[in-house]
């Protein structure tokens, strides 16, 4: 028996103590937790630990192997950096959800069975929603609810798949699933795909991340999509559908990113673009490709986090994040600007920066598999990502036209968080063997060949040349205050259509029922039963008169019946008979 706790426990249990702490003690506690949790993780040897029997199934909280370990390491690292960046936030809700969110990601990573995986999966959704809602703007409220609904739908899909899968296989163990298991494996596949932001399932990401709190977005950008990448790498490596999904993910967001005005939304689109590379890698499924996907996930968490942190610092200091409102900030925020450029160089895969040593692994795996089309799209996406994330973000925020804003430099703890991340990006880019040593498969991949360095540098410089010439010639699309429709139009407008339709149908039905059953029929009955005997006799007389044709004195006779009825000289017996009949019918209806 080992002397450690399950990997997810320290962050989740430690988060519950946060509301009791204040000020510096809370800050120290929040920084200490990821460190403690990391030390705890190091104490757990490779293997299967913390297994509990639950309703006849084996629930495992500590399935530790090379694949889960590398995700465990990077999740701890980014949890520490995000907490450092968010040190000024005195908001219990955000502090607690951030920590539990990170803990839930660890829970998914080290889950050895589908039930605990699902529980942590849902915990991710709930805590992430609070990180979005904590911004407390109407936009964040809307985006948060949409985020929640989409992920609950995805979670239900996953749950249905898990139940079917467990029925089929007879075991809840989480391992390779593949797409051959029929409906069960397909449902799990789609459930993972929602969190992975596959095309058409993606708009929750670009909708909500730019609306979340400044610090919440750093957490969000790291965990949800990367746990999905982990789950896919574990359960669906070598699934061909992933190659095509990933190719689409790498390609389409860059077009949106070019015309998007909100810089955090630009980063959200480029997040999907980067995850696309990972999905392609998992789809190819060779050792090199999966290594590439995992290494790229590791690097992306750092450089995308760094870029979101720099934009968060800009938003924190200026209150603005639209490209149309920003510009010229390099003068008063030089450090943030420098870190942003490091992040931009890393995501664009400049030699000596982290993207360079991981993105090319996926590209090379595609080339070895002779996937020409996929390779070309990925190369296009590589040029495109430099264009929108590498140049557009730093250029429009820190250079471009002078916005006249002269904000203070970012607070010290934010600078420290960004500085550590930037240093890591350069370190991994310069000494990739430390990252390669952690990868799931042993590798002797060499990123620094003369051919690779020259090709990549040429690609990037000529992309930059295109940007420069397009900008100088005025062809580059001007930033416009606007929003761009995406697949979320379907449920944002579709939701309203469904609302209007159900309003028409159900409220119409309701109104019709009200008219017929509440107003008209009781009115008729009331009039009839006011003089039941008289009415009955009148109707009888009318029928008889129609049948025999003796309608001559019908009106006169009806007047006589009416008078008799009004003067109450009409025999009571008729009414009583009707009442008894009515009661008899009711008794038959209810008691038979």
């Amino acid at each position: 028996m080992i002397n450690a706790l399950p990997p997810a426990v320290i962050l989740i249990a430690g988060a519950l103590a946060v509301p009791l702490l204040k000020g510096r003690i809370r800050a120290a506690w929040m920084l200490l937790l990821p460190v403690l949790s990391f030390v705890n993780l190091l104490a757990i040897p490779v293997g299967t630990h913390f297994a509990v029997d639950f309703m006849g199934y084996r629930v495992v909280f500590g399935a530790v192997d090379r694949l889960s370990l590398i995700f465990g390491y990077i999740f701890h690292l980014i949890a520490f950096i995000s907490n450092l960046y968010a040190l000024h936030v005195e908001d219990r809700g955000q502090n607690v959800s951030g920590l539990i969110y990170a803990g839930a990601a660890l829970g998914v990573t080290f889950a050895g069975d589908l039930f605990s995986l699902f529980a942590f999966w849902e915990m991710l959704t709930i805590t992430a929603t609070f990180l979005i809602l904590a911004r407390r703007t109407p936009e964040a409220l809307g985006a948060g609810f949409r985020y929640f609904l989409v992920h609950v739908a995805g979670g239900l899909c996953l749950l249905a798949g898990i139940i079917l899968h467990v029925q089929q296989v007879g075991s809840a163990a989480f391992g390779y699933i593949g797409l051959d298991g029929g409906l069960a494996s397909l449902l799990i596949f789609i459930g993972f795909g929602v969190n992975c932001a596959w095309p058409l399932l993606h708009p929750w990401l670009t909708d909500s991340y730019p609306e979340a709190t400044i610090t919440g977005t750093i957490f969000l950008s790291a965990f949800t999509t990367k746990t999905a990448i982990y789950a896919l790498a574990r359960a669906y490596p070598g699934t061909e559908a992933l190659i095509w999904l990933g190719t689409a993910m790498a390609a389409f967001p860059i077009f949106y990113a070019v015309i998007e005005n909100d810089l955090r939304r630009v980063l959200s689109y480029s997040l999907i673009n980067q995850v696309g590379f990972m999905v392609v890698g998992i789809g190819i499924g060779t050792a090199l490709a999966v290594n590439g996907a995992v290494a790229h996930a590791f690097n992306d968490i750092l450089f995308k986090g760094l870029l979101f942190m720099t934009m968060g610092a800009v938003l924190y200091r200026t209150g603005k994040i639209k490209a149309t409102d920003l510009g010229g900030l390099y003068k008063s925020m030089p450090w943030t600007c420098t870190f942003c450029i490091v992040g931009a160089a890393s995501i664009s895969a400049f030699p000596l920066f982290s993207g360079f040593v991981s993105k090319s692994m996926v590209m090379e795996a595609a080339a070895h598999g002779n996937m020409r089309f996929v390779w070309f799209v990925l190369l296009f996406a590589s040029a495109g990502v430099f264009h929108h994330a590498g140049i557009k973000i730093p250029f429009f925020a820190f250079f471009s036209h002078d916005s006249g804003l002269r904000p203070k430099e970012a607070p010290r703890h934010m600078l420290l968080a960004m500085g550590i991340t930037a240093a890591l990006c350069i370190f991994i880019g310069s000494f990739p063997r430390f990252l390669y040593a952690l990868l799931p498969y042993a590798t002797d991949y060499q990123p620094y060949t003369a051919s690779h360095v020259i090709s990549q540098t040429q690609l990037l410089f000529f992309s930059a040349l295109a940007f420069t010439l397009l900008l100088l010639s005025g062809i580059y699309p001007a930033e416009i205050r606007s929003i761009n429709l995406d697949a979320d139009w379907l449920y944002r407008k579709g939701g309203r259509l469904a609302y209007a339709l159900s309003d028409k149908v159900f409220n119409g039905l309701n109104a019709w029922g009200d008219r017929i059953f509440v107003r008209r029929i009781p009115g008729l009955l009331a009039r009839f039963f006011a003089e039941p005997g008289g009415n009955l006799q009148k109707h009888g007389m009318r029928l008889l008169a129609e049948a025999t044709g003796e309608e001559a004195d019908l009106a006169e006779r009806e007047v006589r019946v009416d008078r008799r009825s009004r003067l109450a000289t009409y025999p009571v017996g008729g009414g009583v008979l009707l009442a008894v009949l009515f009661l008899a019918v009711m008794s038959c209806l209810f008691f038979l």
Binding site: G142, I254, F255, Y256, V258, I259, Y316, R317, T318, G319, K320, G328, Y330, E364, A367, H368, R372, W375, L379, F380, A383, G384, H387, F399, D402, S403, G404, L405, R406, P407, T449, A450, S451, I454, S455, Q456, T457, Q458, L459, L460, F461, F462, S463, A464, L465, A466, F467, T468, L470, I475, Y476, P477, I480, R481, S482, I483, N484, L485, D486, R492
Partner: protein, 100 residues
Amino acid sequence: MKKVQRPEVSEKDASHLVDIDEELGMFDHPRNVKRVLYGFYTCVVLLLAVDLVYHRHAIFAWESYFGFYAVFGFVACVVLVLVAKYVLRPLVMRKEDYYD
């Protein structure tokens, strides 16, 4: 001396207003911007020149053609921008209050 217009800064978070006597930033001098640009153009030409002397090793045959990556990078970005501007924008761009 020409009167310098003070840019409007209304944000509460901005720590201080722009000082009209402040030192000009590095890129406020057009001369510096030009220098950067010329330096950049020189790099671009030199990088292309590398292809003349160094034969790159590659997996696909076309990768080792002269200037393949340079041309691809340039064309890809031009196509990207043109498609985004003239195809995607007219299709999807709406006013900021579209969903309100």
